[in-house]
């Protein structure tokens, strides 16, 4: 059973809910918010092992290259350019698509492994379950590739909780695709509702079942009515409280510091897990 926690809007509380679910269900926790991974501050991984993740990237053999410029013309990402009889690669634009290697008449382009990030696997000092943290190299644009690399290797026998990235682009989709159940965390504000609706479009396309949880709530009327128009309803609502913020900013797991919320989340998600 793979549960992906997403939100559309950043700061809605994905990590708060994901770490709580990892605690409640003793689940393995996958942090796929790879360019801002924060779950570790809550779960406190121990004994981590590190796996480097790399991706193929073109390398130009200067002694073979005739600087004919075919690769720069054919590359659809403008990742290759020619200056003074030299071909250069802009790594942040390259998609590792193999085209330049194919088109080069001199066979001067080969592919080499280049680092995009690492995956740290350990055990949470707080839940005992495994923690798998995706950690993108700073300056790398290959966040989605790193997410896909980790997703392909999910091997946990029991329940898995994925903490997804914010937004509604390809990175979010990569974190949603493997899910059996999506937990959508919505902040009941105009921002939160706007971004949640976009995420709901993605979930509909991918035909994912969803549990919607309101967080930082100071009133759910607007959110509930928007959801009702789509035949959906809130499974739980967590109020905005100074005590919660205080617990979170120091890395406490919300379901551990608040028993009531622990029960609320357990009921909201367990009902869906038990469905055949």
């Amino acid at each position: 059973m793979i549960i992906s926690v997403v939100s559309g809007k950043g700061g809605a509380g994905k990590t708060t809910i994901a770490t709580s679910l990892a605690h409640i269900f003793q689940a393995d926790y996958y942090d796929l918010d790879v360019d801002a991974p924060n779950g570790e501050y809550f779960l406190q991984p121990e004994n981590e092992t590190i796996r480097a993740v790399s991706q193929q990237q073109p390398e130009i053999n200067e002694s073979l290259c005739s600087a004919c410029g075919v690769c720069t013309k054919e590359c659809r990402f403008n990742a290759l350019y020619k200056v003074a009889n030299h071909i250069y690669l802009t790594e942040t634009l390259c998609h590792s698509c193999n085209l330049c290697r194919e088109v080069c008449p001199e066979g001067a382009i080969s592919y080499k492994q280049a680092s995009i990030g690492k995956v740290r696997t350990g055990h949470s000092g707080k839940t005992g379950a495994r923690t798998i943290i995706g950690d993108l190299d700073i300056g790398s644009t290959r966040g989605t590739a790193l997410i896909q690399d980790i997703v392909q290797r999910i091997d946990s026998p029991g329940t898995v909780v994925i903490d997804g990235p914010p937004g509604n682009s390809c990175a979010a989709v990569a974190a949603i695709k493997p899910a059996d159940l999506v937990v959508l965390v919505a902040e009941p504000t105009p921002f939160g509702i706007h971004d949640m609706l976009q995420t709901l479009d993605i979930l509909k396309d991918l035909q994912k079942s969803v549990v919607i949880i309101a967080n930082k709530s100071q009133g759910d009327e607007q959110l509930t009515s928007v959801l009702a128009e789509r035949g959906l309803k809130l499974a739980a609502s967590i109020p905005l409280k100074t005590e919660h913020h205080k617990a979170l900013l120091n890395g406490e797991i919300l379901s551990q510091s608040d028993q009531q919320i622990c029960r609320l989340l357990q009921q909201a998600v367990a009902a869906e897990i038990d469905k055949p």
Partner: protein, 287 residues
């Protein structure tokens, strides 16, 4: 000379859009960019009138003409994105993983693969009371958000030049990957909004490294302060170590999200108006 300033944070929900909207309302003249194209929230807080919109075609995608395909499979072999499916009848087709690289079209011996335009969003130019806003809606789930940001930023520079406006203010996306990089390249200054929490601090560190690699100076606004003074001290040290200067602080106050829910900005809360006015003076000394 056009000056470009980006409001960034690393962590989502730190307060980028709230701060940007308030700054925009104070400036006499400005071209604004909403760089968070797949969760575009700046228009929600601003009074604007759409002047024009256009579909955004980031990339062509591959299309296989099944009639002339000989099913040799070279396209599926070369594709780096698993974007070519083979169905039970043995027909090849392109799925939505296609990134538009055209490698399949190049290797196809029958030349039966064509590259066709693919819409990945809509771009807008809107009129503000004191300038213009460039924004966009990426179609949910689409790729190429970084390219879309680059495209509306380019348009912002054109508008600024045409209208003789010398300031572009960018509301950045969360994170430090492709969209953040696309929002940052070539800006003169970053305002980093740092949420006072362990997560906020961690994401600020990543952002600071990214800014350093681009050699972009930054100022810092600390948001949601006052809950844990010890953490506050630690954050001050880290900001100083990373060459940032703290220029504003906004406390954790439940009235702020309530006010945002009424679509107000920080300027509408008397306690915070002076904070934003001071910040504006620091960021734009001659505006």
């Amino acid at each position: 000379m056009i000056r470009q300033i980006a409001v960034m944070s690393g962590k989502g929900g730190a307060g980028k859009t709230s701060v940007t909207a308030a700054l925009l309302k104070l400036l006499p003249e400005v071209v604004a960019v909403d760089g968070d194209v797949n969760a575009s929230n700046l228009p929600i807080l601003l009074t604007l009138q759409k002047l024009s919109e256009s579909s955004y075609y980031a990339m062509d995608v591959a299309h296989i003409d099944t009639e002339s395909c000989t099913r040799c499979g070279r396209c599926a072999e070369i594709c780096a994105f698993n974007a070519i499916d083979l169905d039970e009848q043995g027909n090849y087709s392109v799925n939505d993983e296609c990134e538009g690289c055209a490698a399949c079209a190049w290797v196809c011996p029958e030349k039966c693969i064509s590259m066709v335009p693919h819409c990945s969003g809509t771009k807008y130019l809107s009129q503000l009371e004191n300038g213009f806003l460039l924004h966009a809606d990426l179609i949910p789930g689409e790729d190429n958000s970084g390219k879309l940001i680059a495209s509306i930023r380019k348009q912002a520079r054109t508008v600024a030049t045409e209208k003789s406006l010398d300031l572009i203010l960018i509301d950045g996306p969360p994170g430090t990957s492709c969209q953040a990089i696309s929002s940052l390249t070539g800006v003169d200054m970053v305002l980093a909004v740092l949420e006072e929490s362990l997560s906020g601090l961690s994401d600020y560190r990543r952002l600071a490294k990214l800014m350093e690699s681009f050699r972009i100076p930054h100022l810092v606004l600390i948001n949601k302060t006052g809950i844990d003074p010890e953490l506050g001290k630690r954050i001050e040290t880290v900001v100083a170590e990373n060459g940032g200067e703290i220029v504003a602080r906004i406390p954790f106050d439940m009235e702020i999200p309530r006010s945002l829910s009424r679509r107000e900005t920080l300027l509408d809360l008397p306690a915070y108006r002076p904070v934003i006015e001071n910040l504006c003076e620091k960021l734009f000394p001659h505006s």
